[in-house]
């Protein structure tokens, strides 16, 4: 029950943050120069047409009226209509979100599996050859500009070696029939194993590019957290019981060490979700990052607003999830 009340309280606490975020997003966007009407109509538009369109879009209202209109709309679950495509954002955003989420999850799984284990092994064999190499690689990993890594991957694995496809989510010749928009799921549901393989192949390069930094960060934090935990008294107790080192590491130390690692995983997942702009641009991934980035270029206010808000909301909820996971892992957490 404490957990429930804690969760409710955490969710309630989100409200001012979300409200603040909506104000920030809204004002930032109004501050961006450039007229959406002009962008919609293009370089050949006449001034009158632009003025008419501004009126139709409500862009001539004072900003606070625009804000409250927007808020009302959002609260009724409607994210608005894209100025650019004229489509409902609530419907439009789904596939983009799914694409990014699938990529993010895939990258994070890759990052977590490799990162956590590399961190554990490094801590276990501290100052060993493995430790030095792994940590140097991790350090290079955090120092890597992902857009560069992405380009290099594309150049090397797609263009030179031709091992993996360089862009897109699936093979257009054998396209996935989207049901849930999560292609891995979709192909499994449809039992299309050849397509599943295609989908995974398409995921590899962008995932590696996207997952490298989190992987490196996770490896580093796991290692230092493990080292700290390994010095803890209870680890000594466990060893004094006669427990084998493997169990000491993977049972007693790991669960405790995971607590800071979890924070990082949560934080990084959120960052990936929004920070995928670069990767998505390079790998032609029809994701939310590019959706918003394009919208900024188009001055598509509703899309920018709602897009960023959706991401930020997810981000905030990931943090909530992480907090709840803590409570699960660490019984000491008092739901304060």
């Amino acid at each position: 029950m404490a957990l429930l009340s804690y969760s409710i309280r955490r969710i309630l606490m989100l409200i001012p943050v979300l409200l603040g975020m909506s104000i920030v997003v809204f004002s930032i966007i109004r501050a961006i120069p450039g007229d959406p009407a002009l962008t919609i109509l293009g370089e050949k538009a006449s001034p009158k047409a632009i003025e008419d369109l501004r009126e139709v879009l409500g862009l001539n209202n004072p900003w606070y009226i625009q804000y409250f209109d927007y808020l009302k709309q959002i609260l009724s679950g409607d994210l608005g209509v894209s100025l650019h495509s004229g489509a409902s954002i609530t419907q439009e955003i789904g596939p983009y979100l799914a694409a990014t989420t699938e990529l993010t999850i895939f990258s994070m799984v890759f990052a977590v599996i490799i990162g956590v284990n590399a961190g554990i092994l490094s801590a276990w064999k501290q100052n060993s050859w493995f430790d030095y190499c792994a940590m140097l690689i991790a350090l290079i990993g955090v120092s890597m500009p992902i857009f560069w890594l992405g380009l290099m991957e594309q150049w090397f694995f797609a263009q030179e070696l031709k091992w993996l496809p360089s862009v897109g989510r699936d093979n257009s010749r054998n396209p996935v029939e989207a049901i849930t928009q999560f292609y891995i799921l979709d192909t499994i549901l449809a039992g299309q194993w050849d397509q599943l393989w295609e989908v995974i192949k398409h995921l590899i390069l962008p995932s590696v590019a996207l997952g490298t930094i989190p992987m490196a960060i996770i490896a580093r934090i796991t290692r230092s957290s493990m080292l700290e935990v390994m010095r803890a008294d209870y680890v000594r107790t466990a060893r004094a019981k006669g427990l084998a080192q493997f169990w000491v590491v993977y049972k007693h130390a790991l669960k405790n060490a995971m607590i800071p690692v979890l924070t990082v995983i949560g934080l990084q997942t959120g960052l990936l979700l929004g920070g995928a702009v670069l990767t998505e641009t390079i790998f032609g991934w029809p994701g939310i990052g590019r959706y918003i980035f394009t919208a900024i270029g188009n001055r598509d206010y509703p899309v920018i607003q709602s897009g960023i808000l959706v991401i930020a909301t997810i981000f905030v909820f990931i943090n909530l999830l992480v907090d709840l996971l803590y409570a699960y892992i660490d019984p000491r957490i008092k739901y304060r």
Partner: protein, 323 residues
Amino acid sequence: MTEELLVVKNLKKYYPITGGILGGEVGVVKAVDDVSFTVKRGETLGLVGESGCGKSTTGRSLLRLIEPTAGEVLFDGVNVTALSADEMRKMRRHMQIVFQDPFASLNPRHNIEKILEEPLIVHGIGTSAERKRKVQEMLEVVGLSSYHARRYPHQFSGGQRQRIGIARALMLNPKLIVADEPVSALDVSIQSQVLNLMQDLQRDLGLTYLFIAHDLSVVRHISDRVGVMYLGRIVELTTSTQLYSNPLHPYTKALLSAVPTPDPDAVRERVILQGDVPSPANPPSGCTFHTRCPHATEECRAVRPAFQDVGDGHFVACHLYKP
């Protein structure tokens, strides 16, 4: 000039506990709950009790390092709880504190000279040269050498750091020093050095001490009078001799009997208390000790005993003793 340098009346310090859906206050920790005592000029009042019973909170609240929730503290006739922040700062010249942790109480980024000079700078005392000289003198007083002045805290052992802490407290020639467990973190052989130093200083400078500790032997050694605290309250207060030869409160008795003495032949009656100290967030009703008291009665469970003199200035809060 009154005989009492410090009079503490009904001091309380409650910490709020927050929680619940809206994060509001759901309760209080009664860290110090209605404590009254006096300290006479030139004497040492000892305060003992188990961990978490509110000793430090008492010491800090009366210097207003923590703002007390209620109560009055008269220092040299002045009600310090009523002073403005600025007046309080000036007042602090006369009342100083020495902390328990010799590692945490010195700023690791300042050298000793700076640490010791700071009180003088803050109160605008002397020229730079005079201040430096005073620092040198004070180092000698606490048994360090003048060349130590340029060193940093991490270059000292625990005992030496505690001397520095004492020196800092002495820089402003205070009347009262609150010593919050000044020897608890020290080894036995070092502890006696510091205790001796404190006694010497008291003798030479006419200091008044409020000496907080959990070690009963140490308190006995240094104090003229001793107060015993349990769960935010003082349960017994009398002279040192009285307390150790004739403890009245069942808690004091148990406490004394639990202290191991380094004498294999000592035969003592042992009172082993059952259970743990209750939480100050949720103290038992009536006499807070009744949950562990071998003599607890219905009255103890219901009524809080008054803290009263049972003769010769021997104060005790227990229903077993009625004047």
